[in-house]
């Protein structure tokens, strides 16, 4: 008698054990109730012979077992099989099932009594009529109240579970963002990046104080954005692009001609919402793995388009390329993949392709932001 919002699987381990256990419970409680009712009848002075009492107990037990057990199984089956149907339809089906089991149980009980000689065949219909009404009322009453109880319990459980799942997911999202911030912090305040940038600034001060000053400003804004506590959700692409530009300009100061880049993002796209440090992670990946590893450096292209309600951000480089399979969760891109999944589910994608001799890392997600 379970109204499940998620149907339990019948092959789950322990399921059969639970089944056997519930049969025993039902049979046991039927027996106990029968015993109690008989004792009650006795105590209020309804005189009965003890032999009659014995047959009364057996009779009630036969009725209850024949009705209650099939009812239980039938209700369970109906609820599992038709759980997706509307509530009203489900209740109608449950009532019909109970009526059916009550009727069949009474008919079967009569037959059994005849078989064991407790009833003459001539008294069969009279026995049926006298027990049927009572059996139907009791069956419906117990059946429907148990079902209602189970349904409520199930709903409560489902609600608790959902609440807990949501909490866990939220915690995971926070954790991933914290990790992204940390990893972006680590790479921008990556000791090599930070100290080399400081060294570049020190070198520039006497020769080009203006450029030195600009670089300090860019470094500061990069550090501030990475430390920023205010981007829990999404940021404007224009904000993200400023960080990408600052980063690329600093790296260009360091690497000189080894880093060549072009940013081609249409103005119409500047107001769209993007996950913070997403495009930045792609650019950084290209600088770290291609520009700084090759004497000839690399050309990086940052592109963006909006099509059919989807935003596509691309970073292309002329490096040897890589496979996403090699990305670990600790990697900057690994974190980005996990964040996209949390923010957009199936509608967020990250893929790596080779196009015209370039490695293209493409980020695609819905334009309306969070779904």
């Amino acid at each position: 008698m379970i109204s499940a919002s998620n149907p339990p699987t019948a092959d789950a381990p322990g399921y059969r054990k639970r089944y056997a256990y519930s049969i025993l419970m039902v049979a046991g409680s039927i027996f106990a109730v029968t015993l109690a009712v008989t004792a009650l009848l006795h105590s209020v002075g309804m005189s009965m012979k003890w032999s009659a009492t014995g047959s009364h107990i057996i009779g009630s037990f036969v009725y209850s077992t024949l009705i209650a057990l099939p009812s239980m199984f039938l209700l369970k089956w109906i609820t599992l099989r038709f759980y997706s149907k509307s509530n009203r339809l489900l209740i109608c089906m449950q009532i019909s099932a109970l009526l059916f089991t009550a009727t069949a149980g009474c008919l079967l009980a009569g037959l059994i009594f005849i078989l064991i000689g407790a009833l003459s065949p001539a008294g069969y219909w009279q026995e049926f009529r006298s027990s049927f009404e009572f059996a139907v009322i009791i069956t419906l009453l117990i059946g429907m109240s148990t079902t209602a109880y189970e349904t409520m319990r199930e709903r409560l459980q489902a609600a608790t579970l959902e609440l807990r799942t949501r909490q866990v997911e939220q915690e995971r999202a926070y954790k991933l963002l914290a990790e992204a911030r940390l990893s972006s912090l680590e790479s921008r305040i990556h000791p090599h990046f930070l100290f080399n940038t400081l060294n570049s600034i020190a070198a520039l001060i006497p020769r080009d104080p203006q450029l030195a000053e600009d670089t300090v400003g860019k470094l500061a804004s990069l550090l501030r954005f990475s430390l920023g506590a205010n981007h829990n959700g999404l940021v404007l692409l224009s904000q993200e692009l400023k960080i990408v530009r600052d980063y690329l300009e600093i790296e260009q100061t360091r690497f000189g001609e080894r880093l060549r880049y072009r940013i081609e993002i249409p103005n119409a796209l500047l107001d769209v919402q993007v996950p913070p440090l997403a495009l930045q992670s792609l650019v950084e990946n290209a600088v770290k793995h291609v520009v700084s590893r090759r004497t000839e450096g690399a050309s990086i292209e940052v592109r963006g388009t909006k099509e059919n309600g989807r935003i596509r951000l691309e970073v292309a480089d002329d490096g040897p390329g890589f496979s996403l399979d090699a990305i670990t969760p600790e990697h900057g891109l690994g974190n980005l993949i996990a964040r996209l999944d949390l923010l957009f589910g199936d509608r967020g994608q990250l893929d790596v392709t080779r196009e015209n001799g370039l490695t293209v890392v493409r980020l695609a997600f819905p334009a309306e932001g969070k779904c």
Partner: protein, 170 residues
């Protein structure tokens, strides 16, 4: 300082780093900057054709790291490592480095390194500089930098105050 000035060569893949080091070294007595390179391959060609006394060397570089470069040299000069981050200090002391300078280099640290250099230059060619197994040690080091399987070094450098001694491990 006495005699002819020491010939120095600077290798760093970032031009600005070389520019700054050059400026810092301008005032140094008895030191002549013979050249510099941002491309380690170019540095290698120069160093194997010209005689150099002291090499200012960055470690993380594209194509060939600092240890790689040393392993390919026919003759080992004195080496002063310059690096942005203290990741390879231990390895750097396993080769014949005089000092390990952190970028941005502080003038006091550079002065300390030059003082050590001055003390070590006599006798001009140390015994270990002619040691035949040094190139092997260097290639082991550069292999370990690339994350390959490396064996134990045969000797370790130990520094007491401003003196460096080498301990044979066999």
């Amino acid at each position: 300082m006495e005699d002819a000035p020491l010939r120095a060569y600077l290798v760093d893949d970032e031009a600005l780093a070389i520019e700054r080091l050059r400026r810092l070294l301008t005032g140094a007595e008895g030191l002549h900057i013979a050249g510099s390179a941002t491309d380690p391959a170019k540095a290698l060609r120069f160093l194997n054709s010209e005689s150099i006394d002291v090499l200012f060397l960055d470690i993380q570089m594209p194509g060939m790291n600092g240890f790689d470069l040393l392993a390919r040299l026919d003759r080992q000069p004195f080496v002063i490592f310059t690096t942005a981050f203290d990741e390879y200090a231990l390895q750097a002391f396993e080769v014949n480095s005089i000092d390990y300078l952190m970028k941005p280099i502080e003038p006091e640290q550079l002065a300390r390194a030059l003082k050590k250099l001055d003390r070590l230059r006599l006798p001009a060619q140390q015994e270990w500089q002619r040691s035949p197994d040094l190139p092997e040690l260097l290639s082991q080091l550069s292999a370990s930098l690339r994350g390959e399987q490396s064996s134990y070094p045969r000797r370790i450098a130990s520094r007491v105050g401003e003196r460096i001694g080498f301990l044979e491990l066999n």
